[in-house]
């Protein structure tokens, strides 16, 4: 029994939600984008919201409390952030797909234990731990060190973007960064383990091998936790939604949602055709092709892609 949810509910906070909705309702599931620490909903409003809407997906982005246009919340905890996400998800007209970026992916992982999402996408997930801190300290000691003592975390351009992104844009984005709650930042060090997701949603993990915040090994580890392999977009920085080639990852996400007709219970209906190039990008050589059988849980399907059983190898 979740005693705390009964006796100590999270204090409400005013939240900013930005959205882009297709002109014609096409029955697609709504997407809810959750920015990482320091970012607000604006980071998705730049490109991804509009792009998702133009492909028929109603798209929303929330600013976690203390970020963007939401209410200031210096003492916010990870639990409060997850509460914000579940509140917005439950307010959408239909069962939503949660898309979390950076530490927002960790928030999504926690939210999945409180809301049966239609599916989830973890983009360049920061799941915490000393490894992440180590990488950050190495790349950006001046920006990171204060955070260890409860000060703000200052990410720099080199950590977030590839060199392809024009300087001026990069400077504008970095200028908009805020900070997360002190307690939530510290929580990251403890690698807070999320309870398992309710409703068995399919989970997609993607990122860049050249991300200077999240090492490729972390991507693989997180993806493995959800029984899959990460999709990789080489050459991009941590902020995949703002970087120069922002279109590729969002198209990959939307393709995944279109190609994986998932019903309640996470069962794949029909899978066929050849996968686009991005599908195999992060997989070991020699693996290509969608899974085969219908009505098999997605996680199983993707795991089979990692270590293909004889049948699927034979098909190639």
């Amino acid at each position: 029994m979740r005693g705390r949810e009964w006796s100590r509910p999270v204090r409400p906070a005013r939240r900013e939600v930005l959205s882009a909705v297709p002109e014609l309702e096409e029955g697609r599931p709504p997407l809810l984008f959750v920015p990482g620490f320091g970012h607000g909903a604006w980071a998705f409003a730049e490109h991804w919201l509009g792009h998702a809407a133009s492909r028929g997906f109603p798209a929303y982005a929330v600013s976690l409390r203390g970020h963007g246009g939401s209410e200031p919340a210096p003492e916010a905890t990870l639990r409060a952030y997850a509460h914000d996400v579940v509140q917005v998800a439950a307010s959408l007209p239909r069962q939503a797909v949660l898309v979390g970026h950076g530490a927002g992916a960790l928030v999504v992982a926690h939210a999945l234990a409180r809301y049966p999402a239609r599916g989830a996408v973890l983009v360049a997930p920061v799941f915490g731990g000393w490894g992440v801190l180590g990488a950050a300290l190495r790349r950006n000691p001046a920006g990171t060190l204060p955070a260890v003592f409860g000060g703000p975390l200052r990410l720099n351009r080199g950590q977030l973007f590839s060199s392809e992104l024009p300087d001026e844009e990069a400077r504008r984005y970095v200028g908009r960064l805020g900070r997360a709650g002190r307690r939530a930042q510290w929580a990251l060090l403890g690698e807070p383990e999320a309870e398992s997701a309710v409703g068995a949603p399919p989970v997609l993990v993607l990122g860049s091998p050249d991300d200077r915040v999240v090492p490729a090994s972390t991507l693989t580890r997180v993806a493995r936790r959800y029984g899959s392999a990460p999709l990789l977009f080489p050459g991009m920085g941590h902020d995949l939604m703002l970087d120069a080639r922002w279109e590729e990852p969002i198209d990959a996400i939307l393709d995944w949602l279109e190609k994986e007709p998932v019903g309640p219970g996470g069962h794949v209906r029909a899978v066929g055709g050849q996968p686009p190039a991005w599908w195999t990008a992060g997989l070991p050589a020699g693996v290509a092709g969608w899974g085969t059988r219908a009505s098999e849980p997605v996680s199983v399907l993707v795991r089979r892609l990692i270590r293909p059983p004889p049948s699927s190898r034979a098909r190639r």
Binding site: M1, R2, G3, R4, E5, W6, S7, R8, P9, P12, A13, G27, R28, P29, H83, V86, Q87, A90, S91, L92, P93, R94, Q95, V97, R114, Y115, P116, R118, G119, V198, G199, A200, L257, E258, E260, P261, V262, G263, P264, G265, H267, R269
Partner: protein
Amino acid sequence: MSTSTDHGRPDPEATSPAANSDGRPVSDRGDTVCVIGAGASGLTAIKNLREHGFGVDCYERETGVGGAWNWRHDRSPVYASTHLISSKPFTQFPDFPMPDSWPDYPHHGQLLSYFERYADHFDLRSHIWFGTEVIRVQPVEGDRWDVTTRSTGGYGPERTARYAAVVIANGHNWSPKLPRYEGLEQFRGEIMHASSYKDPAQLRGKRVLVVGAGNTGCDIAVEAAQQASRCWHSTRRGYWYAPKYVLGRPADQVNDSLLALRVPLRVRQWLYHWTLRLTVGDLTRFGLPKPDHRVYETHPIANSQLVYYVGHGGIGPVPDVARFHPYAVELADGREIDPEVVVFATGYLPRFEFLDASVFGDSAGAGRPTLWLNAFTPGHPTLAVAGLLQPDSGLFTLSHWQTVLFARLLQARRDRPERATAFAQRVRDRAGERYSGPVKDSSRHWFEVGHADYLRAIQRALVELEGK
């Protein structure tokens, strides 16, 4: 992703014909599960069964969802002013929170919109047959069930469909419990049961007697104090009237902080008495009877206004009714009062008129089945009841977990039959178990559960079903 439409509604033409024992055609719905009622408990049953991969047909006699909370329904027991007695975190489904912008104790209209949003969010309506009443549920071979329906009100032909399992979620707060009194037929004033009380205008300017001090009786007494020319409130015992807020927070949340620390019942009772002493003090000075039991031994009343109006003299506490005269009501202490309107807020009784009472181990037919976890019937592993609970919290979280457990049980029957068999044995062994501290003997406490004890019992059942 596309929305799934594989499990459509039953279509008698398209399914293979079979016949039931009286030789009438039955459409076989295969592995589909039947849910009776689309109130809160029925809706969460549909959602959780769908989430676990089952097809569902739900029958609802009304034309909308929400059950008791849809006050357009002719059987809805809510009145215009009904607000929750359990605060939001105690009431909402655990995986679909109520909006932050709502008050601690929302209004019944908000609850209805909450259930409507739940139904739309999880696309449940496409599984519900509205305006269709279940009139018979019969067990058939292979632990399957023949469910017979017809249009509400008895129009149209009867149809029978065969299901792999049935969830009964027909609610237990719609069939009025009316006490009998000598002389009631001769009484010339107006009498009504609380179920037909909708609006304080019905009391305006009249002399009103309210019988019963459940939450309904207390709410109506308060409205009578505000609207009627005179209000008597008759109770057959003294009660503990809990305020909606203590120590700056909703009272139920404070109590759960103690439960979380596993503070023993006796200590909580003592703390409670102590808090009351600090606020309203001894209620017998207002003429209210002294409770004949400790706090938590009757279904909790959450009403901050009742004591306030008693203190203002707006509510006159009186003892039990002895008998009725044409123009007066005689009380147990011999006094006579002359109300124009009598409202019986004496509660409700459960009814399962579509089911042979013996299926439920309720041979007396009293509406009090013998179940495990108030949900599972010995000998019928594919039958479950949802929402047959009177919790000291909101109901919906409990219905949610009941139906999750049932969905997992149905999965186990398919994938790990030996576990389902062991579960069935536990149902036989433990039917009739209680999940509350001691309570006063009254039909209103048949299904009384402490939410913490009950949820822990469900959790144990889940672990026993699925653990290593």
